[in-house]
Amino acid sequence: MASTTETKQKKMLILKSADNDEFEIEESVGVQSETIKNLVEDGFTFVPLPNVYTKALIKIIDYLKKHANKTDSNDEEIKTFDKDFVNTTFDDLFELVSAANYLHISCLMNMLCQTIADRIKDKSPEAVRKIFHINCDYTPEEEAKIRKANAQAFEGQFDESLD
């Protein structure tokens, strides 16, 4: 269907998500991912991604396309795109960071990790637990002890919100 003259000139790849959706992208776009690059170098043009779900994959392809055409002139545009890209819920960010980690896209990985870190740095441990879906495995006594030992880090008010 997409076999225009353009696609004949450019090498294309097919990415298959964990929920079996297929996406056709230019090879030059895909190889920003180390994982995809390695497969391409081994001669693959069909890349199954069993750890990446469609929802995250669509966003990541968007990101890769945007960043593949990076020039000096669209620097601002990319910054705006990135800002918008990370403006989402924690669960979406975790989904994206897992995908970026699996795909080995280091610039995206750094951006996502930094975003998450910035958003949790002033939060309380309780809020962090909820955000990361972690069950506290300390007994109340243990927790009290560890808090006491780090008392200086508990000065002031913390952000209890989950967004």
């Binding site: 750890n51 980690n101 990361f132 200086q152 880090a153």
Partner: protein, 324 residues
């Protein structure tokens, strides 16, 4: 969730981007997080590397010993609480010390500094960012230390200048101790006669000293454990003063060099090319301090006794001071 199977790696990555103070708080999130933050040496290394690469995250400005009035800081009444216990203790809740009781007795290095207790002559290692404090296994007279980090073995090393009575003469000597190794002991160094215990700067595995009326900068390579010298820029070679703040700010050795007429300019030393470049528009000090304070939002006092430092993670402190 199966999609979170490699989530441990991701948590590791995310937490390396956090300030040390947040990490101290997140110890209490879960046992796994506590293990990662406090006991994983790779994590500490990644965190330090990350912190030093970030423009705003890499430096902290702290005041240590400005305590004008006891009433004002009731917290300091607890000042001795944390000091008696071995090993690590938090000093709660502020980084205040009475100058008469506790003094800074070394340069800063990776966010650590040595403190000297006047009362019992005990020397402590203090993590300025986190407030952790640890007694070193010796007490000492009032002479200051130089604290450095060997980038290859990843060990902290202490240099100590001391005076020794030799029949009628007093001779000055220098010795070195590697922290965090089981059987380390002080070793006497042969040192250039002019190096005194005066203020030094640590930067990237090397300690630097400047001395009045010397047209050289002296340095000590913490890996090779050897001294060396290099000359000041030709036109300004009377003597130099090292600029602690600018050095921390730029990650390059910055010094204020004087000529014979006492005219001065700021220079940046490139340790790889072994060359100087003139520092353009040296910012005024107040502005610099303001930048520091803004970037880290910490308490400021009017007359800040400042210490520029990089945030370091606590387990580096612990591991490198696990002296037996």
């Amino acid at each position: 969730m199966e999609k979170h199977q490699c989530f441990d790696d991701i948590v590791f990555e995310i937490l390396t981007w956090l300030p040390a103070k947040s990490l101290m708080r997140f110890n209490s999130v879960s046992k796994a997080w506590n293990t990662l933050i406090r006991h994983n040496l790779n994590f500490a290394k990644s965190h330090i590397a990350r912190s030093q690469a970030r423009p705003t995250g890499s430096r902290l400005l702290f005041e240590l010993d400005v305590v004008p009035d006891e009433e004002e800081y009731p917290a300091t009444k607890e000042k001795n609480r944390g000091l008696e216990e071995f090993p690590l203790q938090q000093l709660a809740p502020h980084h205040y010390f009475y100058r008469k009781e506790m003094q800074i007795c070394s340069n800063h290095c990776n966010g650590l500094v040595c403190l000297y207790s006047v009362k019992d002559t005990q020397v402590y290692l203090f993590n300025v960012t986190t407030g952790e404090i640890k007694a070193l296994p010796f007490s000492m007279n009032e002479h200051p230390f130089c604290l450095g980090f060997d980038l290859v073995t990843e060990k902290y090393k202490l240099l100590h200048v001391f005076e020794k009575n030799n029949e009628d003469n007093r001779i000055t000597k220098m010795r070195i101790l590697t922290l965090g190794t089981k059987y380390s002991s002080w070793r006497i160094l042969s040192m250039p006669s002019v190096i005194s215990s005066s203020r030094c700067i640590y930067l990237k595995g090397v300690l630097y000293w400047a001395h009045f009326s010397r047209s050289y900068i002296f340095y000590f390579d913490l890996r090779e454990e050897e001294f060396g010298v290099f000359s000041l820029p030709q036109e300004y070679s009377y003597f130099a003063l090292l600029n602690d703040m600018q050095t921390a700010l730029r990650g390059k050795l910055v010094m204020n060099c004087f000529n014979w007429k006492f005219e001065d300019t700021d220079w940046i030393y490139d340790e790889l090319k072994r060359s100087f470049t003139k520092l353009k528009n040296s910012a005024n000090r107040e502005e610099e301090m303001f930048v520091f304070l803004e970037s880290e939002k910490i308490d400021k006092s009017e007359k800040a006794h400042v210490l520029v430092t990089t945030p370091s993670v606590m387990n580096i402190v612990r591991d490198s001071t696990s002296l037996v």
